[in-house]
């Protein structure tokens, strides 16, 4: 299970990835570390620049806000101090979005997990030094307080609140954005479910686990992708 992923679809960028979940498709490209402009240069770490481009129309305040949120997550994942006075440039191009009309706040939150996951996969593809693995999930709470992970478009349109959360492989919270009407109790339950889903996405799959619960949210989709990619990268060794 998990979203559809393709690694390195672009030839020009240092690293790139596409990710299509049931709501959004995002194409991410990473260039870096590259030369940085004087005004953005940081003396002790790499500057991170995130550009988000909507499928149609030009970016506005909404995109600027999303950029700031994604930048903050990437900064805590990248080992920025390894490349001081350089720039890591991340471009996120949205290619498809939901066809139903969603509330603005819901739409803003719902795109975040796809953006974070796409950016992370592109960073991995670009071979940038990372300190942890990050997985983001989207959760929707319906009117009857039923929590669904990776909700479908219809669930999202009729939900009470949406939550975008991202965790590292150790279960450290990196991103927490919510919109809608909810209380602390609900949020705690949401966070609990999200943490489980995120940790499961990169967990070492033992055979017992897979036998016991072959549920969608417990599938280690990110680990499988990364392992496959690592295997492909060293495949030349087996041939020589």
């Amino acid at each position: 299970m998990g979203p559809d992923i393709s690694h390195h679809p672009l030839a020009g960028a240092d690293g790139s990835a596409t990710i299509s979940s049931n709501l959004y498709s995002v194409l991410a490209a990473v260039n870096g570390p590259i030369e940085v402009q004087r005004r953005d240069e940081l003396p002790e770490e790499a500057a991170i620049e995130v550009n988000i481009r909507p499928a149609s129309g030009v970016g506005g305040p909404r995109e600027r806000w999303l950029e700031s949120v994604v930048t903050a997550v990437l900064r805590s994942v990248l080992l920025v101090h390894m490349h001081p006075r350089t720039l890591i440039q991340v471009t996120l191009q949205l290619t498809t979005g939901p066809t139903l009309k969603l509330k603005n706040a819901t739409r803003d939150i719902s795109v975040l997990p796809s953006l974070v996951n796409a950016a992370f996969l592109a960073l991995v593809d670009g071979g940038l030094p990372l300190q942890s693995t990050v997985t983001a999930v989207l959760l929707a709470v319906s009117g009857e307080e039923v929590i669904s992970i990776d909700p479908a478009e219809k669930e999202l349109a009729g939900c009470k609140s949406v939550h975008a959360l991202a965790y590292t492989q150790h279960g450290d919270l990196l991103l927490n954005e919510s919109a809608g009407n909810f209380n602390l109790e609900v949020w705690e339950e949401v966070a609990d479910r999200a943490e489980k889903a995120c940790v499961a996405a990169v967990a070492l799959a033992s055979e017992d686990d897979e036998m016991a619960n072959g549920t969608a949210e417990a599938a280690p989709w990110l680990r499988r992708e990364l392992e496959e990619k690592a295997r492909d990268a060293v495949a030349w060794r087996d041939h020589t």
């Binding site: 672009l10 030839a11 020009g12 960028a13 790139s16 498709s25 194409l27 490209a29 260039n31 590259i34 030369e35 402009q37 550009n51 481009r53 499928a55 149609s56 129309g57 030009v58 440039q89 471009t91 191009q93 290619t95 498809t96 066809t99």
Partner: protein, 295 residues
Amino acid sequence: MPHQPAPSTNEQAFLLSALRENIRLDARPLDAYRPIDLSFPGGPDEYGTADVRIGKTRVLAKISAEVVAPYADRKFEGVFTIACELSPMASAAWEVGRQDQAEILLSRLLEKTIRRSGALDTESLCIVAGAKCFHIRADIHVLDHDGNLVDAACLALIAALLHFRRPDVEIHGEEVTVFPLREREPVKLSMQHQPFCITTSYFDGGLIMLQDATRLEEACREGEVVVSMNRFGEVCSMAKYGGAPVDGLGLLACTKAALEKVKMLDRLVRERLAEDEKRRDKGGLMKELRAENER
């Protein structure tokens, strides 16, 4: 922002000496295109997205429509705009928010070829004269740049326009109803003709002419001639960039060669559109909406 490094002197000399022997670095004939791939991504009710790949160059065009008030001086016409903002995705040298030379050239050429040649019938976009019309917006996203951006962007734009369907409308006096895609079968745009851009790069003062230059060849060339024409051989625009002169016969040769390529591109677009239609139409919606019984 890092500048795109110019190819080294050795590289340039090698490329030029090979060209003088009629050899291109990727072993193509001088007038051959790299393999062209055109696809229409998206689900069954998503229209107006075209993904073009020419070799390693990749361009995505997306069309969208909304209802707006027309310009006061053009009451009977809809609005059609082309936006091509280049992002750092294709090349780190392209900065966000600063217009690059390539971007200005690209948008100007597309504007001339498609908008000013009247490829899209803007009068058909009018809903209520002076009050409501459709605004068709075309976004060009350059995802990967390995030369010949203009041809790829033009091909993507034409393919996306041909593929796009706008929502159907119904007018009762002053009242206008716009039907969502799910309620009523959307309508195709009315296109008057389909122009394509063909870029010819020249070297050695017009002695060597070649088509579909890669990025390296573009960096070494003396100039380019962009001819845009439709499949009937009607030239919509002609542009020559770069300092070196090209004589009249050379230009005629460019135009003649372009016609052949335009026919090839036109055929490609038609084929892919037909294939896509077959893929999308599973007898679903249209069959359901049909009133007659099979007796």
